[in-house]
Symmetry: C2
Subunit: 307 residues, 2 copies
């Protein structure tokens, strides 16, 4: 049971505790404790790399401007670096920076031997071109996995640096022994950050994959047949209990903030009654994403994931 011990319960938010009845609690995928496990692995790998080869993995985050949400995300990543022993640098550039200056900055980081991962926090201020900036990142330092070169390798089944959120979902499936091959996986949302790379990873693992989104005519028809359901749309409680079948495994990648509270894309309180396993929001996919980012920086520093 994920929260049977006092230590375990630390990782479950009050919101989740409040709504999950005791009989369903074993169905919750505890993203915080999985993330902790991944971070422990990374920490050991970092220590070994320092001891054996004298290399300290380094991550440079680039934040342009002062957007509060972006600042918070960058802070969370720096904290994870601290926990895992990764050297983290905060490159906070002024909102007034030009495209050329931003690219020159990225190119300098590409050349630095002590920086193994580069993370460009999005969104950028409107006058900057995020696609072009992303392209400037050395694919071998692309810890976020968004560079077309890495995305293409993902599509053809050579998964190296891949987007962290869907990789976190895959890791959670592995941890829970969920079979993917031959299962019907339904992905709701077709963004470049979640839906499309998630679909590619599931296809690479031989799931039958259906990709649904805002243009899908009868969403329920697909979700009702899903063995595995991954939802990333940003629509609060889009997925209701009557839209899933008994025994489904649900990953909720959505986040909606409303009146200081955070909601997922899944009506957790009711869907859990039919699900075999389900991630809460918060405390599910979010923490996993950051731990995978740490894993990528370690991979880059070890040179096991050359692009």
């Amino acid at each position: 049971m994920w929260n049977s011990s006092a230590a375990g319960s630390l990782y479950i938010s009050k919101e989740v505790k409040g709504v999950v009845e005791e009989e369903y609690s074993s169905r919750v995928i505890d993203g915080r404790s999985l993330a902790k496990k991944v971070e422990e692995e990374v920490k050991k790998g970092v220590e070994a790399l320092k001891a054996e080869r004298g290399i300290t993995p380094g991550l440079a985050t680039i934040l342009v401007g002062e957007d509060p949400a972006s600042k918070m995300y960058v802070r969370l990543k720096h904290k994870a670096c601290e926990r895992t022993g990764i050297h983290a640098e905060d490159h906070n550039l002024p909102a007034s920076i030009s495209q050329e200056e931003l690219i020159a900055h990225i190119q300098q980081l590409n050349l630095r031997k002590d920086i193994h991962g580069i993370l460009l926090q999005l969104p950028l201020p409107r006058h900057l071109n995020d696609k072009e900036a992303m392209l400037a990142i050395d694919p071998g330092k692309d810890a976020d996995g968004f560079h077309p070169y890495n995305m293409g390798n993902l599509l053809i089944g050579n998964e190296g640096f891949v987007p962290c959120t869907p990789k976190g979902v895959i890791r959670a499936m592995e941890e829970h022994g969920i079979q993917i091959q031959g299962k019907h996986a339904v992905v709701v949302g077709h963004s470049n950050v979640v839906g499309k790379p998630m679909a590619a990873m599931l296809i690479n693992r031989n799931a039958t994959v259906s990709v649904c989104h805002v243009f899908t005519q009868d969403l329920k028809q697909y979700t009702l047949d899903a063995d595995i359901l991954v939802v990333g749309t940003g629509v609060k409680h889009l997925i209701k209990a009557e839209m899933v079948k008994e025994g489904v495994v649900v990953f909720d990648v959505g986040i909606t903030e409303e009146d200081g509270k955070v909601y997922g894309d899944v009506d957790f309180e009711n869907v859990i009654k039919k699900a075999a396993l389900i991630t809460p929001v918060p405390g599910g996919v979010g923490p996993m994403t950051i731990s995978i980012l740490m894993q990528h920086v370690l991979m880059a520093a070890k040179g096991t994931c050359k692009a």
Copy 2:
């Protein structure tokens, strides 16, 4: 009607003529005449490029060894170059060539200003690494669209050089005014050459996309619901009439040779009775693929598709 004129009927193979009853003939997507249309466009583009900028598009094909099927495919591509005014070079390398020699050869072609497209005919002899060789091709000369950089741009919706067969299918849909957005498109087969890029293109165009393959547990469940069905498995007559719904649009990308005859993945003779539109084999998707390759070489020469 596609074969109402003597000229039109030249493009329909005898096999197809034999089995298609007159009442169904308007349902056949005539790949040869569509390919001819695309080639005419390319030819005009090539003439304009020569006249306006003095540039003749150039394609170099690389064939390693003497595989008869590969030789035939290369020959077909050279003939298409002739028809469209593209300069074609046949680089037939000995089967004994080393990986280093092959890559050096590709790198020389990368540097040549008169060569805009490079096509490495697969499969390579066993002692050579095809993935590594493919990576050596300048993504900006990757007429086949298989380079990870181009595959990644495809996945994130920046379609430049993309695999020619699925692009031919999309063009055929456009020519026939087939709506993609909101439709349920089922792709059978998840190869890197057809299934996965096809799925990505359909997702980019807002279809609900299901990807099925050899691990799918109940194929019929998916195909029966398809508005658009693309099949590329190499399994002769995998798709029977009872597996599709009335009004489906079918693209058959499969080719099986048996006793000197060529078969598709779809039981054409029976499926056509339920289909709104369907491609035959031969004379369907195959000719389209080559015409798209010509389009890519022109795009590369014009510099409209820089990688």
